[in-house]
C-alpha cells in the first residue's frame, strides 16, 4: 500500500515476484491499477487519501475477531499499559484527542501519558517543529518517558483504560461497511485483505507491509505508517524474518541524507538540533534528550563525540565541547518555510544541490515565484534543470507574471560530478551503506559536492581568517582539514567516512557505538554509522558475492547499526528466548554460551538473556528487561499507543486530505487538526467537503512516478533512452470520466486547481475507475509529475497544481491526494491561463472562501447522485 513497487523499485520487486512464485500472496491496495497491481495476486482499489480508514478497518477486523498474536502483544507492546483517565479519544471529542489548543493549533500530550507516569513537562518546546517531539524514526526518545514497564498494566488486556481496549474503541467504527463507504472498495475486499493478513501471521508465518511516498505524502502521513505499525504489532510481525514495514525510498542515498541529515531539525544520527530556549548549555540538552533506558540512554556520548568530530581539539569539556556554536532552531525551518521566506524576502541566498523544486516540489509554481525573489542562487546539477533557468523560461514569464529583466536573482550554475566521477557511499532503503569507486575524472568544471563544500568552506575561512567577530569563531575553529587528491584537489571521501565512523583518543578507528564516551575522548561524526570503518576496513566497500554467503548477505556493504539486517530482531524469539517457530527462527538465546545467536547481529544487549532484569539505576541498554525487544524505547516495548513523539495524536485517525470532495464520514472534524497550511494569496487552497465552492473541484487527483522517469526528471528527461519511453505528460482517466467531461483518448485535457492549470495528453484507461464513495460516484485523475520545460521531452508539471499542505510531524507535503477539475482541450496560453484559474473558487485565508465567477468553469456541477 502506498507504494507502486513494480514501477518505482523494479529491481527490488524481483524478490516480491520470487515470493509470489513461491506461494506468497501479494496484495496491492492502490487508487490505480498499476504494474504492481497487474502482477499482484490481489488488487483493491481505494480512493486516494483513505488508507488509514482501510488500515483501521483491518485493525478493527483483528480485534473484533480476536486474531491478534496475544503473547507478542502482551509481552512486546504497550497494549497492556493503562493510560491516564485524563485521556480523551477522538471517539469522545469528534475527531480530536484531549490536549488540543485551538490558539496554537497544536496538541499538548500531557493527557496521553501512562497512568502513574510523571506528568512533568517534557523538555523542549511544543510548537511545531520543536526538536523533542520530532518523529525522527526514534521519535520520543527523550526524558519524561518511563523506564521499564509502564507503571500500571493489565496483562489480561481487559481494563477499559488499557491501550488494547482504547484501541478497540478507537477503531470500533471502522467496520468493513463504513470503510467501504469511505474508500470506495467493497466490504468483502477489506475482509479479504484482513483475513489474508491474519492467516499469514502468527508463529509459523509472517506478513510484511511495503510503503513509499504514497503513504508519507499526506497531511496525516506519519499516522498512515503508525496504523500499519499497529497492525504489524498486533499480528506479531515486527522484528521477525518476513515481517516488518518496508519503506521504499526514492533516491540513491535519501536514507543516508536522513541518517547524516541535510535536514534542519536533526544532527547526524537523529540527534535533535538544539532548540532556542533560555537554558541552552550542553548539559540541559543532554538531560532533555537522554532516555532512562534503551539506545537513547547515552545521548551524552553521541553528542559529545559529534562535537569532537566537528570542532576537533577546540572542543573541550571546559567550553562545553563547542556546543554553543550550534545554531538553534525555533520552529519549522523546513524547505517550504524557506520558500515562503524567499517570497517574504527573509531568505536571500540559496543552494540547490541536486534538487529541482521548480518541478519537483509541491506547488512548484510557488517555488519558481519564490526563486525570483532571491538575491543569489547556486544550482549544482548535471544538466540545466528548470530551477536553474526559471529566470528566462518559467511558465510565469509566459503568463506575464514574471519578466526576465525584472528578476534580481544572481544565478551560479555549477556543473556537478556524476556518480561514477566521484567516490563515496550511498545508504540504500534498507540502511545498507555501499561504497562507490571513482571510475573516471569529471570533465571541465564538473565537481563533486565534496569538492564544492570543502573548497567553499576553505575559501570562506580564508576570507574570514582575520575576523575577530565572535560569530565567526565556530566557523574558524571548525575541524576542516581533509587530505586532497588529484589535479582537482578532491577531498578524500574515505577520510570523511573515517571521521564519520569515529576514533578513539589515540586515533584508532572505533568499531561500535558502544565505545563512544561522553568525556571527549572519542570522536564520531554519526554514532549510528560507528563501525562502518571498524578495524580500519571500509566495510561499506565489502563485496563478497552473494553466492559465497548466506541469504542475508551480511558481508556485502554494511548496514547500520552494527551491520544489523533486521531491527528489533530480539522479537523473533519468544519472551523465553526461543524461536516462535522453527520455520520463522532468526535469533535465539543460547544457554550454553549465554549469548543471543542466529543469522543476524542481535539488536539487543548481546549477553542479556530472557531472564535479565535491570538493576536499579541501570542506564541505557542495561535498563532494558531481557524480555523487551524494542530497545529504542525506554520501556523496551513497541508503542501501539504513542504517549509522546507524535504531534497529531497517540492513535491514527482517518482524516480527509486537505483537499477532498468529501466530508469525514467518521468524525465532524474533516482533516487532521494540526496539519500545516500557509495562507497567502500566492498559495491558495481548493474548498473541500461541504464548503461552498467545493463542488468546483469534484474529482480526486493523485500524482505519481513512472518506471521510465526519475522524480523531477533531471536524470531522465535529459536521457534519450528514457525520454522516448514516456515522452509526454499525460493524465489517466476512466472511460466514464472521459465521457462525462468529453475527454478524447489521445487528445488533451486541462487539469485545474486554485493554484494553476496544466495540460496533459489524455490516456483513457480502465485501470483507473470511478468509485462509489459516500453515496456519490467519484472519479480519480492520475498525474505523473516528471515533466518540465527543459530536456528532451517536455510538458507541464503536475506539481504546479498540487496544494502546499504538510504533515505536522515531518513537514511532508500532501501530493498524493487532492481535488481538481478537468476539462477537455489544451490550457489557455499567456495571461488567459491565470484568468481561467482565477475563475475558480479559492481559499487564501483560514476558513474563508472566495467565490469566483463561475462562467469559465463548466465543470463546477457536483457529480453526486
Amino acid at each position: 500500500m502506498g507504494s507502486n513497487m513494480a514501477e518505482n523499485h523494479p529491481v527490488a520487486y524481483q524478490w516480491v515476484m520470487e515470493a509470489r512464485e513461491r506461494g506468497a500472496q501479494v496484495i496491492h491496495v492502490d487508487p490505480r491499477f498499476t504494474r504492481t497491481s497487474a502482477t499482484a495476486t490481489k488488487w483493491v482499489q481505494i480512493r486516494a487519501g483513505t488508507d488509514i480508514a482501510f488500515l483501521g478497518g483491518i485493525v478493527n477486523y483483528i480485534l473484533e475477531n480476536g486474531r491478534e498474536f496475544r503473547e507478542y502483544v502482551v509481552e512486546y507492546t504497550n497494549a497492556p499499559a493503562i493510560i491516564t483517565d485524563e485521556y480523551r479519544d477522538t471517539e469522545d471529542l469528534g475527531g480530536f484527542f484531549s490536549g488540543w489548543d485551538e490558539a496554537s493549533r497544536s496538541y499538548g500530550n500531557e493527557t496521553w501519558r501512562y497512568d502513574g507516569a510523571d506528568p512533568s513537562p517534557m523538555h523542549g518546546h511544543r510548537e511545531m517543529g520543536a526538536p523533542t517531539d520530532q518523529a525522527t524514526g526514534f521519535g520520543g526518545h527523550s526524558a519524561g518517558a518511563p523506564c521499564c514497564d509502564p507503571p500500571h498494566m493489565d496483562p489480561t488486556l481487559e481494563d477499559p483504560r488499557c491501550v488494547f481496549q482504547i484501541l478497540k474503541r478507537h477503531f470500533s467504527r471502522y467496520t468493513p461497511e463504513r470503510v467501504a463507504e469511505i474508500c470506495g472498495c467493497s466490504p468483502d475486499d477489506l475482509r479479504f485483505v484482513a483475513r489474508a493478513l491474519c492467516d499469514n501471521s502468527g508463529r509459523e508465518r509472517t506478513a510484511s507491509f511495503v510503503y513509499s511516498v504514497g503513504w508519507t505524502q499526506h497531511t496525516v502521513g506519519v499516522q498512515y505508517i503508525r496504523t500499519a505499525a499497529i497492525i504489524q504489532l498486533l499480528l506479531g510481525n515486527i522484528g521477525r524474518p518476513g515481517g516488518g514495514i518496508m519503506a521504499l525510498r526514492g533516491h540513491a542515498s535519501i536514507q543516508g541524507s536522513t541518517d547524516i541529515p541535510t535536514l534542519f531539525d536533526i544532527l547526524p544520527g537523529y540527534l535533535p538540533m538544539p532548540a532556542a530556549q533560555a537554558r541552552h548549555d550542553l548539559r540541559t540538552y543532554i538531560e532533555s534528550q537522554t532516555a532512562p533506558g534503551g539506545i537513547w540512554g547515552t545521548v551524552d556520548a553521541y553528542i559529545v563525540s559529534l562535537l569532537k568530530a566537528y570542532w576537533g581539539d577546540r572542543a573541550t569539556a571546559e567550553n562545553d565541547f563547542c556546543f554553543d556554536y550550534l545554531p538553534r532552531i525555533s520552529g519549522d525551518h523546513s524547505a517550504y518555510q524557506a520558500t515562503l521566506g524567499m517570497m517574504d524576502g527573509s531568505v536571500k541566498g540559496y543552494f540547490l544541490l541536486g534538487e529541482n523544486p521548480a518541478v519537483g516540489s509541491a506547488h512548484s509554481r510557488l517555488h519558481r515565484l519564490a526563486l525570483a525573489h532571491l538575491d543569489w542562487l547556486v544550482v549544482r546539477d548535471l544538466v540545466e534543470i528548470e530551477s536553474a533557468t526559471f529566470w528566462r523560461d518559467a511558465p510565469e514569464i509566459e503568463t506575464g507574471e514574471l519578466r526576465t529583466g525584472d528578476i534580481p536573482t544572481e544565478v551560479f550554475f555549477m556543473p556537478a560530478a556524476s556518480h561514477v566521477e566521484k567516490a563515496g557511499s550511498f545508504t540504500n532503503t534498507q540502511r545498507l551503506l555501499q561504497w562507490r569507486d571513482q571510475a573516471v575524472e569529471p570533465k571541465g568544471d564538473a565537481r563533486s559536492e565534496l569538492w564544492f563544500m570543502y573548497h567553499l568552506g576553505r575559501i570562506i575561512r580564508e576570507k574570514l581568517a582575520n575576523s575577530t567577530d565572535p560569530r565567526d569563531r565556530g566557523l574558524l575553529e571548525l575541524a576542516w582539514e581533509y587530505p586532497l587528491t588529484g589535479a582537482t584537489e578532491e577531498p578524500d571521501g574515505e577520510a570523511v567516512l573515517r571521521e564519520i565512523n569515529g576514533r578513539q583518543a589515540d586515533g584508532t578507528l572505533l568499531s561500535a557505538s558502544a565505545q563512544l564516551k561522553a568525556d571527549g575522548s572519542t570522536t564520531c561524526g554519526c554514532w549510528i554509522y560507528c563501525g562502518c570503518y571498524a578495524d580500519g576496513v571500509n566495510r561499506t566497500a565489502r563485496r563478497k558475492p552473494h553466492w559465497e554467503q548466506g541469504l542475508e548477505g551480511r558481508e556485502w556493504g554494511w548496514a547500520w547499526p552494527q551491520n544489523r539486517r533486521i531491527l528489533y530482531n530480539r522479537a523473533s524469539a519468544d519472551p523465553q528466548g526461543k524461536p516462535w517457530s522453527e520455520r520463522k527462527k532468526l535469533m535465539w538465546w543460547d544457554e550454553a554460551s549465554q549469548r543471543w545467536v542466529g543469522d543476524d547481529e542481535i539488536d539487543f544487549a548481546p549477553d542479556h538473556g530472557p531472564d535479565y532484569r535491570p538493576p536499579d539505576g541501570a542506564r541505557a541498554l542495561a535498563a532494558i528487561d531481557g524480555r523487551r525487544p524494542f530497545i529504542a524505547h525506554p520501556d523496551g516495548r513497541a508503542w501501539i499507543f504513542a504517549p509522546r513523539g507524535v504531534v497529531d495524536g497517540p492513535l491514527p485517525t482517518h482524516f480527509e486530505p486537505e483537499e477532498s470532495p468529501f466530508a469525514n464520514l467518521l468524525y465532524p472534524q474533516r482533516a487532521n487538526p494540526p496539519r500545516q497550511r500557509f495562507f497567502r494569496p500566492a498559495n491558495p487552497y481548493n474548498p473541500s467537503g461541504d464548503s461552498p465552492g467545493a463542488d468546483a473541484y469534484p474529482f480526486v487527483m493523485t500524482t505519481y512516478r513512472l518506471t521510465e522517469h526519475h522524480t523531477a526528471g533531471g536524470m531522465s528527461r535529459f536521457v534519450p533512452h528514457l525520454s522516448e519511453l514516456q515522452p509526454e505528460m499525460f493524465c489517466e482517466v476512466s472511460p466514464e470520466l472521459a465521457a462525462l467531461r468529453a475527454l478524447e483518448h489521445g487528445g488533451w485535457a486541462t487539469i485545474v486547481t486554485s493554484r494553476s492549470a496544466i495540460e496533459a495528453r489524455v490516456l483513457v484507461t480502465e485501470r483507473i475507475r470511478p468509485l462509489d464513495v459516500q453515496g456519490k460516484t467519484v472519479h480519480q485523475v492520475g498525474l505523473p509529475y516528471h515533466w518540465g520545460r527543459n530536456g528532451i521531452v517536455t510538458g507541464d508539471s503536475a506539481n504546479d497544481v498540487v496544494p502546499l499542505a504538510l504533515d505536522p510531524n515531518v513537514h511532508i507535503e500532501e501530493v498524493k491526494a487532492a481535488s481538481c477539475d478537468i476539462r477537455p482541450g489544451r490550457r489557455p496560453r499567456g495571461p488567459a491561463l491565470r484568468r481561467l484559474v482565477e475563475s475558480y473558487p479559492r481559499i487564501t485565508r483560514d476558513g474563508d472562501v472566495t467565490q469566483a465567477p463561475q462562467e469559465h468553469a463548466p465543470g463546477t456541477r457536483s457529480e453526486g447522485r
Binding site: Y310, L353, V383, F413, D437, A446, V719, P720
Partner: protein, 192 residues
Amino acid sequence: MEPLQRLRSLPIVRQVRDHDLLGLGRAAQSEGSAALEPRTKTADAVYHSVCPYCAVGCAQLVYVKDGEVTQIEGDPASPLNRGRLCPKGSASRQLVTSPLRQYRVKYRRPYGTEWEELALDTAMDMIADRVIATRRETWQDEIDTQDGRVRVNRTLGIGSLGGATLDNEENYLIKKLFTALGVVSVENQARL
C-alpha cells in the same frame, strides 16, 4: 595475406571448403564477426559502483576505456540486485555521458537575460563572498520567544536544498559546514 590465402578466405570459396554450400553459416561470417569481442572484455578497467537513481542500491560495474565510460551494467555479485537493473539503471551510461550534460560554470547576473561564462575559481570566490555578506546581513544572535530573549546564533537568510542524491560524505560536509556557518535551513528531498 598471401593471394592464395586471400582467395581461400573469400566467402564464395569457403562455401565449398566449409561444407556450407548455401552460405548460411560460417562461410558467410565476416572477418569482423570472427574477431568480435564484447567491450566489457576490452575495457581498461572495471569499477564498482551503485546505481544513482532510486534507493534500492543496485550494484553496478562501470567499464572504462581510454578514460571514458563505455558500459555500465549490474554487478552479479550483489545480493540486492543480482546483476539486474531497471531501465533507469540500465541507462546510467547515457546519464553520465549525455550530450546534454553541462561541464562549464554558467553565470546569470542580476536582471540579466543570458548566461555568461565564468571561471570556476571566480565563481567559487564570488559564492563565498555572497555567503559571507548574506550571513552578516541576516545574522541573528538572539530572538524573542515565550521563554524570553534566547540565543540562536544563526542565519535564516541562507538555505540549502538537496542531498538525497548525494553521498553520505557529501551530506556530512554540507551539514557540518552549514551548521558552522549558522545556516539552519539545510534540507533535502527526504522531506519531499
